[in-house]
């Protein structure tokens, strides 16, 4: 956010006026804390817009003070509830935008990903059995449900779950034993805390099952690999919003690290950075931003946000006209220029950045068979298209 505001102000700000960021801490992201922060920003600071990463605790409670004030709100909450709230009263929530696709899309996206591995011969599953473990947060439950709902159409059979485990937790042995008894070809854990998932993976590796392991979002964080170490090699993780490894993404990462130091997480920072830039362009197009109460001006900004196809450092933000949420690629749009890529990563070496293995045209590396799995049906075949170099040897660690 700081970087975006600095860049924008260096270029002259919004029609000659400088952007002034005000930060509010939402602490543990509970409804009270997030709603309180939104109220404080609106009432005390009279902000024209609230732009942030994600606050998933309040389940949209913060939309109410924002809608009452008629300002713009852009976030990356990744929540299905956003759709329900917006569509229940599009006029009232005209200014609320979710700049990434809903958690829901993780489900069909993941099912298509494992089916793609299977159908292109990159991996020969031991069976059609799929086990799903969910954390107890709404986000985890929704992802688990949407995975389960999509599985059958693509030839997968649910052999376990979705079982909701009380999270946070670091004790997974019991549920892993239950999963082992069902002998799955794939196990997905939709809980998303990096530390918890690291313990899951370490406990899984004590007596690994011959199956693919998918861990939700948190396994992307450095903390995960730091705790799981070598046990992390081979796991798959994905994000419906992630910094791309192309020229645009790399240039951003370099600026980000130059500003905040090496090791700063550009992959997370890119979200509010892009949202801020996108908002600034829309406000400029609309002829300026609107203070609380200036519904008319903010409606113009909202229209500009909705009408613009914006290529950010993490792919395209194109708001769906009814959902006011970013459309995902490739699950909803088949055109990479019109949707935000749902990126699949695999850990090939726990000391290095994750390998981006799907979807085309953004992938930079290939899937490898996790070191704990047995090889069957001959050698893995390379993925279909794109002149990628030879794959890395299996088991980088």
């Amino acid at each position: 956010m700081t970087l975006a505001v600095e860049e924008l102000n260096a270029q002259g700000g919004l029609l000659g006026r400088k952007f002034q960021p005000i930060f509010a801490d939402t602490c543990r992201q509970t409804a009270e804390e997030v709603v309180g922060a939104a109220r404080m920003l609106i009432e005390k600071h009279q902000v024209h817009a609230i732009i942030c990463g994600y606050n998933i605790g309040p389940q949209n409670s913060e939309y109410e003070p924002i809608a009452d004030a008629g300002i713009i709100y852009v976030h990356a909450n990744t929540l299905l509830q956003h759709h329900d709230t917006i569509m229940s009263d599009p006029k009232r929530y005209f200014g609320c935008f979710m700049a990434d696709p809903a958690d829901y899309w993780y489900g069909p996206g993941f099912i298509k990903f494992i089916s793609w591995l299977r159908d292109t011969g990159q991996w020969t599953p031991s069976s059609d059995r799929l086990a799903i473990i969910a954390g107890s947060k709404p986000y985890s439950i929704v992802i688990a449900q949407s995975m389960a709902a999509a599985a059958v159409d693509y030839g997968w059979r649910l052999c376990f779950g979705p079982k909701i485990v009380q999270t946070p937790t670091t004790e997974w042995r019991q549920v892993i034993d239950e999963v082992r008894a069902t002998n799955p070809a794939v196990v997905a854990n939709t809980h998303f805390y990096a530390g918890d998932l690291a313990y899951f993976q370490r406990q899984f590796m004590e007596n690994p099952i011959d199956c693919l392991v998918y861990l939700q979002y948190g396994a992307m964080h450095r903390t995960f690999a730091d705790i799981a170490q070598e046990a992390s090699v081979g796991i798959i993780v994905s994000s419906v919003i992630g910094l791309l490894r192309d020229e645009v993404g790399k240039s951003f990462e370099a600026r980000y690290n130059a500003r905040f130091g090496e090791g700063a997480s550009a992959t997370i920072g890119c979200q509010s950075y892009s949202n801020m830039h996108h908002y600034a362009v829309a406000a400029a197009m609309a002829g300026g931003s609107g203070a609380p109460g200036d519904f008319e001006q903010n409606r113009r900004v909202a229209r500009a946000l909705k009408g613009m196809i914006y290529r950010s450092v993490h792919g395209t933000i194109r708001y769906h006209p009814d959902w006011q949420a970013a459309v995902p690629y490739p699950v909803v749009t088949h055109d990479p220029s019109l949707g935000m890529p749902h990126i699949f990563y695999q850990i090939h070496d726990h000391r290095k950045p994750l390998s981006m293995i799907a979807p085309e045209p953004y992938n930079t590396e290939r899937f490898i068979l996790p070191p704990w799995m047995s090889r069957r049906g001959g050698l893995q075949k390379p993925a279909s298209a794109n002149g990628l170099g030879p794959g890395r040897p299996a088991g980088g660690a």
Partner: protein, 515 residues
């Protein structure tokens, strides 16, 4: 004139400049050859259009050889052509040639009276194209006309049959006194009407196909979804006939028009069920390189070799089928053929008379990433966190009960709604298993607290519950909290409702008493 002509032939260079300019302005190319086969004159038009032209004084034979091997003209056998042209010098003839540039050129030659030869070279591309297009259009029109007439004759015949039965049945029915016979006749009438309806429906489909009104929309999708729909559509028909109907569900993604492929497959399956008396029908797939063959295998009577080619013709029915009343229209497979042609999908048939048939259609694989699953529809009713959670709602206000039920159902919740304690208890005792109770505080005869207590007794377990109330009196609220139940004040905002329900159902330790 004769004198002048002689003079000109002898001294070509002395041609009047006005005559030369005139010859160059003509739209056709011109060459004039002397009796000794040497070129006297070539105009500018030919030089321009042909890209290769004879030089003054050049021998006709040499020019032909040069032209044949220049590749300016498309010739099947250049050497033979040269021989023929040389032999035909001075003969009257005309021929069309296709030039390398795509033009059609007409070359007409005539002998001159002194034993030489003159030739014109005209661009007839437009005329030829028009002729060709006209001829094609005429042939298509004639073929369509013939097909239409044949089709109408057959349709007329097939429509007349049930119509004739109907007329007889109506006439007999009017005179029939016996109730039972009348009922039988009415049933037969409804069957005849059904046949006519099917036939008209099929005719309409064919009409639309012929008129080019059906435009395929090719997408990638999961074949499993089509199989599921077909299973629902045909399960009962197969059961009624005592046939086994089995779908071996594939996991593959295919790329074609989904609705039209469904029509092809449903015609195949309908046909298979219709012509199978014992055994069953199996629908499955086989990989064939980069294609997938969908097969419909039946244990029916099979098709004789002689009929195999014709079963896809309109109104064609295998001969002994005509005996029984409702054996189908003979249009299904014709529709299949037309649809398959439209989609460019090969259809196949293997059969042994008396042993059953295998009809098939072969489709290309699709891109799994582009597959249109049911997933394109985003909805909390499909995968929201509360999907399938049974909830008991006790609310005596009709409007509120209805709106609350709607909201909860939109989130995928299975709502059991009751207007009062009695109804709620009846639901509980009737076997309703719920994971959450939502009760209004001010119910007509009792408070929500008492109802929750009674319900928990009936369920025999401490089912999670909360109270909603419009009464913001601190005394009331404290009373509810002291009873250990969370409370929401009406109108409860959906986000607050979500948070509370989520915590009660999935993270009970998160519950704090609201302040």
């Amino acid at each position: 004139m004769a004198e002048k002509a002689d003079h000109e032939t002898d001294i070509p260079s002395a041609l009047d400049p006005a005559v030369l300019a005139g010859l160059d302005a003509l739209p056709s190319g011109i060459t004039i050859w002397r009796p000794d086969r040497r070129l006297v004159h070539v105009n500018e038009t030919l030089r321009r259009t042909l890209g290769i032209a004879p030089a003054s004084g050049e021998l006709f034979d040499d020019f032909m050889i040069r032209l044949a091997h220049s590749r300016e003209v498309v010739l099947e056998d250049p050497n033979r052509w040269v021989r023929e042209e040389i032999a035909d010098f001075g003969q009257e003839k005309s021929a069309d040639y296709i030039l390398a540039a795509g033009l059609v050129m007409n070359v007409t030659q005539r002998p001159t009276r002194d034993g030489g030869m003159a030739a014109t070279y005209s661009d007839v591309t437009t005329t030829k194209r028009n002729e060709h297009a006209l001829r094609e259009a005429k042939e298509t029109a004639e073929a369509t006309d013939e097909a239409k007439s044949r089709f109408l004759r057959a349709a007329n015949h097939d429509l007349r049959q049930p119509l004739a039965s109907l007329k007889i049945l109506i006439y007999s029915c009017m005179r029939e006194a016996d109730e039972e016979t009348r009922a039988e006749m009415l049933h037969a009438m409804s069957v005849a009407a059904l046949i006519m309806e099917d036939l008209l429906g099929a005719l309409l489909q064919i009409g639309q196909l012929d008129a080019g009104r059906i435009k395929p929309r090719v997408t990638s999708f999961q074949l499993s979804q089509l199989f599921e729909r077909l299973n629902i559509q045909f399960r009962h028909q197969a059961e009624e006939k005592g046939l086994r109907l089995r779908f071996v569900t594939p996991r593959d993604t295919v790329a074609t028009d989904r609705a039209l492929l469904e029509r092809i497959l449903s015609n195949f399956v309908a046909n298979a069920i219709r012509f199978t008396e014992v055994g069953g029908v199996v629908i499955g797939c086989r990989k064939e390189g980069k294609l997938l063959r969908v097969e419909i295998v039946d244990t029916g009577r099979g098709i004789k070799d002689a009929d195999r080619e014709r079963v896809f013709d309109e109104f064609y029915r295998v001969t002994d089928e005509r005996r029984s009343e409702k054996t189908g229209l003979g249009l299904g497979l014709n529709i299949v053929r037309r649809l398959a042609d439209l989609l460019e999908l090969p259809v196949g048939l293997r059969s042994r008379s008396g042993h059953g048939s295998i009809f098939s259609v072969t489709v290309p694989f699709g891109n799994i990433w582009h597959s249109e699953g049911g997933d394109a529809e985003i909805s909390e009713a499909v995968a929201g966190e509360f999907v399938g959670v049974p909830v008991l709602l006790v609310e005596d206000d009709d409007i509120l009960r209805r709106s609350m039920t709607q909201l909860l159902q939109r989130w995928g919740i299975e709502v059991h709604a009751a207007a009062n304690e009695d109804e709620a208890l009846r639901l509980a005792r009737g076997g309703a298993q719920v994971r959450l109770i939502i009760a209004d505080y001010n119910l007509t005869s009792r408070t929500g607290l008492e109802v929750v207590r009674e319900l928990r007794k009936a369920f025999g377990t401490e089912t999670p519950a909360f109270i909603v109330t419009a009464d913001a009196e601190p005394k009331v609220l404290n009373g509810i909290r002291e009873a250990g139940l969370p409370v929401l004040i009406k109108p409860a905002s959906p986000p607050r409702l979500r948070v509370l329900m989520h915590n009660l159902l999935f993270e009970p330790e998160q519950i704090r008493r609201p302040d």
